[in-house]
């Protein structure tokens, strides 16, 4: 099952795909362009992984980590499909990160790797933008780099776990203005989905609607105001985002 959360005529609806259109939970059929796409999940805790693909770690001149490099994000940073992300006026390097987002379906603590998929409700696509100009070496990457408003597009669809046979073998691709700039596969994650769930739940309770952004492969390129950035994961969705200037946003 693929579901979206959309705003339509002043109300929030769950929607499913209907022959290239959307069917709202009211039964109404509407065009995709007539709705505002919201993040498909109202998140609880949002986890994100740094350096979880060896090629991306090497690209940033880091060794692959021995323990997952995890940071957290607040709900302020999420925006939906077809949204606009602003690029602060003073920055020189802002890059996208196409990531498989894992949505937790039920609470659990000390979850074993072999049971981990029982705790997964489904998946979506996230674009975990980073602004490298703001990196500092304290709790790196810090919230000023990663938790800015509009900096984490997510969606368009929540895809339930039963639809994805093997989430550890999906192609990820990012296009900037229709050119492919990033390509990889979830096969290359250093810490797999079951390992991440086992790791996190070894010291904290995971809850329903927690989201784990599992990291990004190699291929970071600076994105400019006006660029259209499309992050795509095989079988899950194509998430579109446009970069706007700070004055336009404010």
């Amino acid at each position: 099952m693929k579901t979206a959360r959309v705003a339509y005529k002043g109300n929030i609806h769950e929607a499913i795909e209907w022959y290239g259109k959307l069917q709202l939970d009211t039964g109404a059929i509407v065009s995709e362009d007539d709705v505002v796409w919201l993040p498909p999940i109202v998140p609880q805790t949002i986890f994100a992984l740094g350096l979880n693909y060896a090629d991306h770690a090497a690209e940033l001149s880091f060794n692959a980590p021995k323990e997952p490099l995890v940071f957290l994000k607040g709900p302020n940073t999420l925006i939906g499909h077809n949204g606009e992300t602003f690029r602060p006026a003073d920055v020189t390097y802002m890059h996208y990160e196409c990531e498989l987002a894992v949505v937790i379906g039920q609470s659990g603590k000390n979850i074993q790797e072999k049971d981990a998929y029982n705790y997964v409700a489904g998946y979506t696509v996230a674009n975990d933008y980073a602004i490298r100009d703001y990196l500092e070496n304290y709790y790196r990457p810090n919230l000023r780099v990663k938790n800015r408003d509009t900096l984490t597009p997510i969606g368009p669809w929540f895809v339930s776990a039963d639809e994805i046979k093997n989430p550890m073998n999906l192609t990820l691709r990012t296009y900037v203005n229709d050119s492919v700039v990033q390509e990889g596969t979830t096969k290359d994650m250093i810490f797999s989905i079951p390992k991440l769930i086992a790791y996190l739940s070894s010291f904290m309770t995971l809850n329903k609607n927690d989201i784990i952004l599992t990291g990004t492969p190699k291929g970071s390129v600076d994105t400019k105001v006006g660029d259209t950035v499309l992050t795509e994961i095989e079988g899950i969705g194509r998430l579109k985002n446009t970069i706007i200037s700070e004055p336009v946003y404010q």
């Binding site: 995890v70 957290l72 810090n142």
Partner: protein, 262 residues
């Protein structure tokens, strides 16, 4: 003083009058000693913490801030998140992971946001504050602050907060509050928010220049240097002048149970 709290199963914050010396809570005509109430956490939004916001904390790092891996002293506020699983409440136990002998007590002033705050100027910050409470930002001791300390700071129950939110108008100056920590009745730390690198208004102005704080979000302004350590069984009381006291016991548990989280 005027305060807000949740207790005895209430879902919404209730306006109360608090006598923090006598530990009495008055609502309407009824006055009750706090120990007769089941107190819930008074906050519901995202809880953000601030690293290295005490002068002594930064001084303790010394010249290390100019060496690898830090390379240079911090420029902007360094924030982290205490996620929802960490939120704990007055008089509840703090679960100690069984492999840890000691946990750090992080006594911090907690500022609760009253309305959506984005790009707020220092002068206007007051209008965006609902009030102030106390948090114990518990950590597993860790010397490096290079990578986010999720395992060290985000364990279940690692953020007791409360017992109430004091109305902002009751505190003349949040940047001049004495803070003490008592362990089993013995004074272990004396500090003051006068030692903050970024006082409350400046901190909130800088934070909201790069991210929105929503109504109900909480910003912990920082944990002072040399945080005392707690062991299994210790009863820890954090007192902030003008607000009150937050008391919890550290207890080793195999599987923490949270029975009071509405």
């Amino acid at each position: 003083m005027k305060a807000m709290m949740r207790y005895n199963g209430q879902f919404f914050l209730q306006e109360v009058y608090v006598d923090s010396t006598k530990q009495l809570i008055t609502r309407g005509e009824e006055t009750t000693p706090i120990e007769q109430l089941v107190v819930h956490p008074p906050v519901s939004g995202t809880v953000y913490g601030t690293l290295l916001n005490y002068k002594g904390e930064l001084e303790a790092l010394g010249s290390a801030v100019c060496e690898s891996p830090y390379q240079q002293p911090p420029k902007a506020p360094i924030l982290y998140i205490k996620p929802v699983n960490t939120i704990n409440y007055h008089q509840a136990s703090i679960p100690m992971p069984k492999e840890e002998d000691t946990l750090q007590i992080g006594a911090t002033l907690a500022v609760v946001i009253g309305k959506k705050a984005s790009n707020v100027s220092k002068e206007e910050v007051q209008n965006y504050i609902l009030g102030y409470t106390i948090a114990n930002d518990v950590s597993i001791p860790h010397s490096s602050v290079y990578r986010p300390a999720i395992k060290e700071k985000a364990q279940d129950g690692f953020c007791p907060i409360g017992p109430w939110i004091v109305d902002r108008k009751e505190l003349a100056n949040p940047d001049d509050l004495d803070i003490t920590i008592h362990i089993n009745g013995e004074l272990k730390q004396q500090q003051t928010t006068r030692n903050l690198i970024r006082p409350v208004a400046e901190l909130i102005a800088e934070v909201t220049s790069f991210m929105t704080l929503f109504e109900g979000d909480t910003l912990l302004v920082g944990v002072p240097e040399n945080p005392p350590l707690a062991r299994n069984g210790d009863v820890v009381k954090i007192t902030i002048a003008g607000i009150g006291s937050l008391e919890n016991q550290f207890i080793i548990t195999k599987q923490p149970v949270k029975e009071n989280t509405i």
